[in-house]
Symmetry: C2
Subunit: 292 residues, 2 copies
Amino acid sequence: MATSQKVFGHIAGYPKGSAFSNRPAASKAGLHTPYMQGISGNGADGVNSIVVSGGYKDDEDYGSHIIYTGHGGQDANGKQVADQSLSDPGNAGLVTSQLRGLPVRVLRGSKGEPEYSPQSGFRYDGLFQVTEHWSSIGIDGHRIWQFRLEELNKTDAESWQPPLPTGNANPGVQQSTVTRVTRDTKVSRSVKDLHNDACQVCGIALKVPGGTTSEGAHIRALKKPHNGPDTPDNVLCLCPNHHTLLDNGGIYVDESLHVRDMNHQVIGPLRLAKGHTIDLAHLEYHRSLWNV
Amino acid sequence: MATSQKVFGHIAGYPKGSAFSNRPAASKAGLHTPYMQGISGNGADGVNSIVVSGGYKDDEDYGSHIIYTGHGGQDANGKQVADQSLSDPGNAGLVTSQLRGLPVRVLRGSKGEPEYSPQSGFRYDGLFQVTEHWSSIGIDGHRIWQFRLEELNKTDAESWQPPLPTGNANPGVQQSTVTRVTRDTKVSRSVKDLHNDACQVCGIALKVPGGTTSEGAHIRALKKPHNGPDTPDNVLCLCPNHHTLLDNGGIYVDESLHVRDMNHQVIGPLRLAKGHTIDLAHLEYHRSLWNV
């Protein structure tokens, strides 16, 4: 069982939609090996499966997109009575899965959101990816950590079919994994123009044939539950590295507009540009996500 | 007209699907101002519109995704008789549009790919984004530059509705511009593991709470027309900055496995890891895309 806990991706013989009458049956199939825990994995290996079954009242299930609450801090009645911690193995594992781009098998149980859950037992609902995490104060008044899981598209999910150990020499037209394409809104474009593509953290504007390039980073994300505005005062012009760090809590901007790393060391002042006002409340919101 | 040539995004009163009997009518509407040229724009401003009408035999139209050949090198009969250059204003403008994430209005004419083109005249087919460009030897035996244009999704396209100069303070659930999410295949994941997330160019592994992060960069892209394999020997472990530079021709790897910038200056040796073999043919293919 220790081995199957480290198997990532689809399990041979159990396609998406496979139904199980109970948790032991799903465990035997290798889809989610723990009998009780909702999260299978740890910080070192990442999480290979979760069960979504209504156990946390802060969860939100939108079908192909789930806001999943981390593990810990509940009493026997499912009430949140203490803060959750990122050092909990399951929570640390979900961070690892996000950072490493690992696929997470999602099983839904009958006690979950009725629209997307099976009427009885448990169902394997395919591979998802952790795309974001943050902390907030949950419904019961304690700190929780939440993880956004988004279902992999068909072609990305297929790349995790077993066994495929040596890659696919002829991926064909279905293979569509895409990275590095960024889309600008008109707003983020305007901010990048004010900075001439120079990163507001390090000052670098990446040089490529034809010009320079940068990324427009929303300080408070647009998506639920953050609901940040798509306005210039919520956008920073960053190089891809500092965009990645900002989005993952590797850097933050303090109240005096200095950029600090995750150990709170000052990297330098946030570089400003005439005409680009930044809303301090969005920076404060970003800090609250990382509990700093 | 000089002003309208710099208008990016949708044009008020002419939604996607608007039909025009000829080019002057489309010009008067402000959708594509030049009467003759297929590309409207230049290197400084970027391209705000193109016409796809079968003028270049190397074009490929897949509807929501177009492989568009740059301008230049044709004789009066449309035969390619000379190499194209990225310094051509239209071609330089398409690079600028890619780097700046600018939206490009696409008009199709009746001489284009029958499946996606109007039966007569010209039709405004909405906003696309240049997501990639490369050079190759075209059907007629001369160097051409090609640009991949992909249609913006509905929400991204809506962000370019006029006038919206100050952003959208309440973007709501439709707003879905996403950046910085990368998806790994099993193969790119394996390469990143071999390097412990250390960039093969600069050695940096970005530190964030919970671990480190990097990106798996395909040397020869998977998509058409590149058709690279999804195998470890076609993947590099890179930081986001060097991934962006690799994908846009800002760096390349020479025959002696040294990384060079776009001015051919050596940055350093490509960092290797035991167990990670790189196919030199893929590096050669990457160089050919940038004509180095």
